[in-house]
Amino acid sequence: MTDILMPALSPTMEEGALAKWHVKPGDTIEAGQVIAEIETDKATMEVEAVDEGVVEAILVPEGAQGVKVNTPIARLKGEGAPAAKPARQGASAAPAAAPKAEAPKAEAPKLAAAPAPLAAKADGQRVFASPLARRLAQQAGLDLKAVQGSGPRGRIVKRDVEAAASGKAPAARGAPAAAEPRQVLSLEQMGIKPGSYDLIPLDGMRRTVAKRLTESFRDVPHFPLTIDVEIDRLLEARTRINAMLEKQGVKVSVNDIVIKAAAHALKAVPEANASYTPDGIAMHHNADISMAVAIDGGLITPIIFKAETKSLSQIAKETKDLAERARSRKLKPEEFQGGTFSVSNLGMFGIKHFASIINEPQGCIMSVGAGEQRPVVKNGQLAVATVMSVTLTCDHRVVDGAVGARFLQVFKALLDDPVTMLA
């Protein structure tokens, strides 16, 4: 028999929720057939069968939360294997098999089986590591479960153990979290009475937002730089561009122009298109712009790849498509992982200016405020202009104040006179 394991749908995925089963025990499945839907912190994705066979048992019921990657979620009958022998699969599988034995009806084991094997498997989970990595870990007294693999399919290899042993690696899999739990008083201890509120369980996305942004805000030395940009000419240009694109049904937003200008500015000031790594500063070749999209229950940052090479109409089409699919949680991992610079825009809510938190490993994030008419002084005279405040939050390890300022200067000049983006 073959176990179907909880797949890792993205490199950062550690656990997910089993949103829906498309098969039931007794079903014959073929390789490539969609058998389940998994909900992660970022998206809902379909899981396809890798092997063909007959479903013998569903080991994790629909709706189960926090299912660890590589936990068996279903079992296929093997070719020629005795059909009714799931119980002899070793200690960790025993709880799953027990209810099956007393409930021969196909659907019955679903509910009873789930929680127990989850806990058991999470601990007895198979760790993939090279023989040399195993021996080095043993000699260094390291638990391989606490080491993040960098080899093929995440296999732990020699360099990973060496890095973990020398303390250089961001020793993963919850190890640091367990090491220093932050002391938090319960709401009750802080004087908020039970029953005076509703508790919404943390879903994957909320946990990820909480974890990643806490780490970023705490560990990345960041600072904001704010600049005001006059956008009257930009708005005028946008009106003309949209009149021209109307036939194609494309509408360019101010944010699309911001993305394009940011990409151009990143090419002009490549130091701002960079990431800090322990080995050195990664200077990105392309301006892959992540755009923050608010969705139900959180946010996600789909990417306009190589934005510097794309026309406004192309960017407009992509941002529309990405935002729509982000809201219906239909983005593929590769569409929201790997940007080099972020743009977050709260202008539509009338926010004047704000400073976002660095989206690691990116060196900068740009926060765009509302374009509004403000009094400005021109040649000693008071005048009215449409002004938009833009704040760049910089990771000081990569982007120094002067670099961030130069980037904003270029960015402002491009928006002041959008025609220059054609250069």
């Binding site: 490199p11 023989p131 021996r135 360099r159």
Partner: protein, 468 residues
């Protein structure tokens, strides 16, 4: 700026053409520029045609030992021209094979000589077309895979002329069969030609500047190789400094100094095999400000040069100068360009010499491992007590393994003997997968095979050898 291609590869040797295929598989619109023959030196003037020659030499040599096998045949002879023709035919077949592969993967082949000029995100490629005229193409990324050629030292006459003084290229398409020959340099190339011409009956002397022949190999292998070659009639001068190579209408005179004494060697021809020079002239190195390191392009972990959008692989990017190293780099660089995560470990690169007997190795020599300050465990097993080797009449040579005593990691393997070039990959796989002695001991080796000596050499390193 409009891009004609996603990727342009300059040079279609085993680095370039493999990179182009991988790029096409990953959906990149790819072109490859070649100034001479598809397949480069490797399969037109290197690895492949020399293997054809060496096979002829081996077959001929076998004939003189037929009696050992209880077999006899008439007087053995050979037709040198036919041997060379066969080698050229083999090269031609593989050359067309690369052409087919390029077509199959929809890779545009541009025949001509490329030169790089400053471009926007990557250098522009200006090609002086074979068919006449020139063409400028622009791509997002360019891979330099221009290879290398034989090194000359004209000051002391070490310069091929195609008549009496040969480079590898002349030596495999020789104008005549030399009754006597001096080979300058005892690396893989020098030793292979020495082995080939000796097998056909030429009086061959190999001159090496360093203390021992095949200087990159383990010292024990070098010593065993010299002994085995001498048994076949090859002569050697090691620690010998060449002072001058003079040529006349009828032959060459090689002046050298060894052990404080001057000596002169006469021969009908000389082969110059004293290293290689990267083909980086007239490619635009200065115009781009391309950083070099000892005559080769300086590259980073993913083959990147200091010029944005320009990568370099293979011989032009530094040692070891081996076809499979170039192919490996080609695939790695293309996958990096395509944004794939690098999950590979640092794979060791095996090296092979196709002489009689063959020599193959991967990883560190015993001396190199010790020089790194490692404590080592070393195992050896001779083919002379291996059943299959005895049955085949191929008992020359041995297998040597080097383990890190602390971790049990296999860090080096060295072999000399029949068909060892076909066996070394077993240890290469083991090292790439980071195995320890335990896994190798637990591996079952089929009986009877020469490869059992590999198993025994592992066991020997830990005092568990069985058949000795």
């Amino acid at each position: 700026m409009a891009q004609d291609f996603d990727l342009i590869v300059i040079g279609s040797g085993p680095g370039g053409y493999v990179a182009a295929i991988r790029a096409s598989q990953l959906g990149l619109k790819t072109a490859i520029v070649e100034r001479e023959n598809l397949g480069g030196i490797c399969l037109n003037w290197g690895c492949i045609p020399t293997k054809a020659l060496l096979k002829s030499g081996e077959v001929f040599e076998k004939l003189s030992h037929l009696g050992d096998y209880g077999v006899s045949a008439g007087n053995a002879s050979f037709d040198f021209k036919a041997i060379v023709d066969r080698s050229r035919k083999v090269a031609k077949q593989l050359n067309s094979g690369v052409g087919f592969l390029m077509k199959k993967h929809k890779i545009e082949v541009i025949e001509g000589t490329a030169k790089l000029e400053k471009g926007a995100s990557a250098p522009k490629v200006v090609i002086d077309l074979k068919a006449g005229g020139s063409r400028t193409v622009q791509a997002k990324n360019v891979i330099l895979a221009v290879g290398a050629r034989a090194r000359h030292i004209p000051a002391i006459g070490l310069e091929g002329d195609g008549e009496r003084v040969w480079t590898y290229r002349d030596a495999m398409n020789a104008p005549f069969f030399p009754k006597s020959l001096v080979v300058i340099g005892s690396g893989a190339i020098g030793i292979e030609f020495a082995s080939f011409y000796r097998a056909l009956g030429s009086e061959v002397t190999v001159v090496e500047a360093l203390e021992r022949i095949l200087p990159v190999e383990d010292a024990e292998v070098s010593a065993a190789a010299q002994k085995a070659f001498e048994k076949r009639g090859l002569k050697f001068r090691v620690a010998a400094k060449v002072t001058k190579l003079d040529k006349s209408k009828t032959g060459v005179t090689l002046s050298l100094e060894a052990g404080g004494k001057a000596e002169q060697l006469q021969a009908e021809a000389a082969i110059v095999a004293v290293g290689i020079t990267a083909n980086l002239e007239n490619i635009g190195v200065e115009a781009l400000g391309l950083d070099l390191d000892r005559g080769h392009v300086k590259t980073g972990k993913h083959g990147q040069t200091n010029v944005p959008g320009l990568y370099a692989i293979g011989d032009c990017a530094g040692p070891p100068w081996l076809a499979h190293k170039a192919s490996h780099e080609g695939v790695h660089v293309v996958e990096h360009i395509a944004g794939q995560k690098d999950a590979g470990v640092n794979a060791p690169i095996p090296g092979c010499t196709y002489s009689q007997p063959q020599v193959a190795s991967v990883g560190l020599t015993e001396a190199a491992a010790k020089a790194e300050g490692r404590e080592v465990k070393v195992g050896r097993f001779p083919f002379r007590v291996n059943g299959k080797a005895i049955a085949s009449g191929e008992t020359e040579g041995f297998v040597k393994t080097v383990f890190d005593a602390k971790t049990g990691a296999l860090i080096g393997a060295h072999m000399i003997g029949a068909e060892v070039t076909e066996m070394i990959q077993g240890f290469a796989v083991a090292m790439t997968l980071e195995t320890t002695e335990e896994d190798l001991m637990n591996t079952v080796f089929p009986h009877p095979t020469m490869s059992e000596a590999m198993h025994e050499a592992v066991l020997d390193a830990y005092g568990k050898v069985l058949h000795i």
